[in-house]
């Protein structure tokens, strides 16, 4: 099986997943809990308006027609109007998406840099404090509730020593000038992104260390060592190069988890992003908004999964050859 067919299989598979999630979404919001009208039409409308909206939304059509229309509208990113703001959901999501992406990218760069470098350092300096620190922080990342760490940091740096902004993406009247605004935004990023890095770097460091150790025990490293190559060269040229592929894969694999974490981070730090939008909409029973936000999140997760599969296939030839084996 060539790489192309592997790619096609993955793509096909991603589309299937998307399809399943969309169908699930459709069923969930329209059919499952009682009257679809309550889900789609605001209960505060007058009966005439309700009738009109029923017609507009095609709620009187047969269910299959509704389903096809629903899929069509999602493809056009027509996500309906929010109950609470009466604005198109997609417009609202578009406003928030950049904020979420900025937070994600900064978090990601911080976590990856810190995690990978610490992991490599720990693998190079075994039985020292560095290694114990990495193993400990990996355990920490696994066992400590992330939102608790974030709340703690918020309490410390937002209230006990109020040195960092506690909510929002920028100051209330944003400062004038491009550079000042940039600094202000950066200032607001410190707490959410920093706490995300603190929560997340441990598992990256542990993973990097483990793969590094595995690579260092391979025959070609022993050969290189026997040849008298300097320790640093072995570490950075031989070992690190061979562990980069799995780490690249990890990068993409961590995306879905990051999306889940975004909901909590954004709600703790009142970040004007997609995750908080989903939560607020859900709690407010603003169904079109919740559905739209979920669609966007699911789409991004599926795309990142697909990217992970592709990256995995690119860096590991064995996957291309023996694909479809044991999960």
């Amino acid at each position: 099986m060539g790489f192309r067919s592997y790619l096609f299989k993955r793509l096909f598979y991603a589309i299937i997943v998307l399809f399943v999630i969309l169908t699930f979404n459709f069923v969930l919001f329209r059919v499952m809990p009682g009257d679809p009208e309550k889900m789609i039409i605001d209960p505060n409308f007058t009966p005439e308006a309700k009738m009109e909206l029923r017609r507009q939304y095609g709620l009187d059509d047969p269910i299959m027609t509704q389903y096809v229309n629903y899929l069509k509208s999602l493809l056009r990113f027509d996500l309906g109007l929010s109950f609470s703001t009466r604005r198109p959901v997609w417009t609202e999501l578009k406003e928030r998406l950049p904020n979420t992406l900025v937070l994600f990218v900064v978090t990601f760069i911080g976590t990856a840099t810190m995690g990978i470098s610490l992991g490599v350092y720990a693998a190079a300096n075994r039985e020292r404090f560095a290694e114990r620190f990495v193993v400990g922080s990996g355990l920490f990342a696994h066992a400590v509730p992330g939102f608790f760490i974030q709340l703690l940091l918020l309490l410390l740096f937002g209230y006990y020593w109020p040195i960092l902004p506690i909510h929002g993406t920028m100051s209330a009247p944003p400062p004038d000038g491009g550079f000042a605004l940039f600094l202000d935004r950066l200032w607001h990023l410190i707490l959410p992104a920093g706490s995300n890095v603190i929560i997340g770097f441990g598992s990256w460091a542990l993973y990097t260390r483990n793969t590094m150790l595995e690579a260092l025990s391979q025959d070609y490293i022993i050969t290189a060592r026997a040849k008298g190559i300097a320790k640093g060269d072995i570490l950075y040229h031989h070992a690190l190069r061979s562990v980069l592929p799995p780490i690249v894969t990890l990068i993409f694999m961590s995306l879905p988890g990051a999306v889940s974490g975004a909901v909590i981070t954004e709600s703790i730090f009142s970040w004007h992003g997609v995750g908080r939008y989903l939560l607020d909409a859900t709690l407010k029973m603003d169904y079109p908004a919740a559905q739209g936000a979920f669609y966007l999140i699911a789409l991004s997760v599926i795309i990142s999964n697909l990217l992970a599969d592709i990256a995995y296939g690119l860096v590991d030839p064995r996957i291309r050859v023996g694909a479809g084996g044991q999960g």
Partner: protein, 532 residues
């Protein structure tokens, strides 16, 4: 002979070794050697004990005992440590009935304990004043608040004597002949001023329609200043009335003559020493005696420090919430993990053993579910199906069995090629029988390790959901405590005692389970030992 001696020695040594060594260590014997695992087990044991004995350990009901102290009261022990919490008052609560009061009867007044159902009250019978009608009209001139009319609030206590004189019955001839009947209760107050206090009681007045009954509640400070908290001037009968004075009410503020923005406690509780609560009663009745029935006066100074861990925004005991939260956390973790393991094991067994189309379909379902972003879907489903603990457990289980299914399937794939399965098959055993009695027992250790590792993640996910406001509102979970602290001012008041305990409880519990899971894994998959 030297050589034969040596061989015999060797033989003996070998025999001895054979008799002691070969018995393989049981799982428990291996586990006992893992300090990490034993620490984890110890911690979990503590949590389990706390959960079982929660009603004994927790002094209050976590959900229903409200207003035990002021909102966001600090832990009681912090008032002993100095600093900004030094000397803050704990909750003082007096229920003043017949036995508590020191009674000063006016002439002719009859006072006796009075019981109705569970209430211990006081019955006061005041004889008729028997005055001529024209004199009662005189009284009506001074009718408007006889006490407050002559009462001057003197915040600096410059003249104690004048205050004393004001306690005496108001002007008006009808009452001149009789003193007020007074009920006094003194208590020692040696703290800084509180934020709120309240006094309330119920009363009935049985009187002829032309009678006027005067009642008042006062607080007398150590330096002798008298503050009127409440008073009434009732005509005729009054049934089931309630007297209420609350420091948060505007009523009391106007009565004390302070502005809307001032705190009554600033003036009332400015001193330390012996305070006196005084209830007074008197009547003007021309014809018949008046009977007043008082239920106990509930006087409360809401504490600014309380219990082991203070209170939340509703004055509910945080220590009790924490203790009962242990129950919920363990119950959720265990049940969600158990359901997930049952689903995962069944799917894995069936997919692995039957193979073919069944395997393909089941594994694709696993893949799809793994691709679904868990937190968003849990948020949406949690809100749609209603915030109940049962729903949360089911949802947690439904979105966490996939990993177990994959592992069990892989194990089943290798097990079904073994000879004992072949043997069972050739002797005519059915698929169900083989799966249950030959393959399942061999996956038990694996399942156990996964069960242990699933528990903390179920607990943490539930805590996150509760924290986001999707938990069961009727259940005191740790996540809900954290959410309350975020939502209701725990941060602005820097109430660390509201945030830290549930967070640390969560942390240690999940850490303990991770310790146990890691140790179990190390024993079952020795390869792990080299890696971490």
């Amino acid at each position: 002979m030297r050589t034969s001696q040596k061989t015999s020695q060797r033989l003996e040594a070998a025999r001895a070794a054979a008799s002691t060594a070969p018995k393989p260590l049981t799982f428990w014997e291996q586990y006992k050697r893992k300090p990490q695992g034993m620490i984890g087990l110890g911690i979990v044991l503590v949590y389990v004990l706390v959960a079982i004995f929660a009603p004994i350990i927790a002094p209050y009901d976590p959900m229903n005992d409200l207003y035990l102290a002021d909102s966001i009261a600090a832990p009681a022990w912090m008032s002993k440590l100095g600093g900004k919490y030094q000397g803050l008052p704990p909750t003082l609560r007096f229920s003043l009935g017949y036995d508590e009061w020191k009674i000063e009867k006016a002439q002719g007044v009859d006072i006796s304990p009075w019981k109705q159902d569970t209430v211990d009250g006081i019955e006061i019978t005041i004889p008729a004043t028997a005055k001529e009608p024209e004199e009662t009209t005189e009284v009506s001139e001074a009718e408007d608040n006889p006490w407050i009319g002559s009462f001057k609030w003197d915040p600096f206590g410059s003249d104690n004597d004048s205050n004393e004189s004001m306690e005496v019955a108001p002007t008006g001839e009808a009452l001149e002949s009789r003193q007020d009947t007074e009920f006094n209760y003194s208590f020692n107050y040696l703290y800084k001023k509180p934020q709120t206090f309240s006094a309330s009681f119920r009363y009935d007045i049985d009187a002829p329609s032309d009678a006027t009954t005067l009642m008042g509640l006062e607080l007398i400070t150590p330096s002798g200043k008298v503050f009127s908290l409440w008073e009434t001037r009732a005509r005729g009968r009054v049934a089931a009335a309630r007297a209420l004075a609350d420091a948060r009410d505007l009523d009391l503020k106007t009565r004390l003559g302070i502005s809307f923005f001032d705190e009554p406690t600033d003036v009332v509780f400015a001193e330390q020493g012996d305070y006196t609560i005084r209830l007074r009663a008197n009547t003007e009745s021309s014809t018949e005696p008046v009977t007043i029935r008082l239920q106990p006066v509930e006087f409360t100074v809401f504490g600014m420090v309380h219990g082991l861990l203070g209170t939340d925004h509703l004055g509910s005991d945080l220590w009790s919430q924490l203790v009962y939260g242990t129950r919920i956390a363990l119950a959720i973790g265990l049940s969600a993990a158990f359901i997930a393991v049952v689903i995962g094991t069944s799917v894995g067994l069936v997919a692995g053993y039957l193979g073919g189309m069944v395997d393909e379909v089941l594994m694709r379902i696993v893949d799809v579910l793994l691709a679904v972003p868990t937190m968003p879907i849990l948020i949406i489903l949690g809100a749609l199906f209603g915030k109940s603990i049962f729903n949360v457990v089911i949802l947690l289980a439904l979105f966490s069995w996939m990993g177990i299914a994959r592992i069990v399937r892989a194990q089943t794939l290798s097990l079904k090629e073994r000879t004992f399965v072949e043997a069972a098959k050739s002797s005519g055993a059915g698929s169900g029988y083989i799966m249950l009695s030959h393959i399942l027992p061999n996956t038990v250790p694996l399942i156990f390790a996964n069960l242990v590792l699933r528990i903390p993640s179920a607990i943490l996910t539930e805590a996150s959901l509760s924290f986001l406001g999707l938990g069961d509102p009727r259940v005191p979970t740790w996540g809900r405590i954290l959410q309350n602290s975020r939502q209701f001012g725990g941060f602005t008041k820097m109430a660390w005692w509201w945030l830290l305990p549930p967070g640390l409880a969560l942390t240690f519990l999940s850490l303990a389970f991770v310790f146990i899971g890691n140790s179990v894994n190390e024993i079952l998959n020795p390869r792990h030992r080299e890696r971490s």
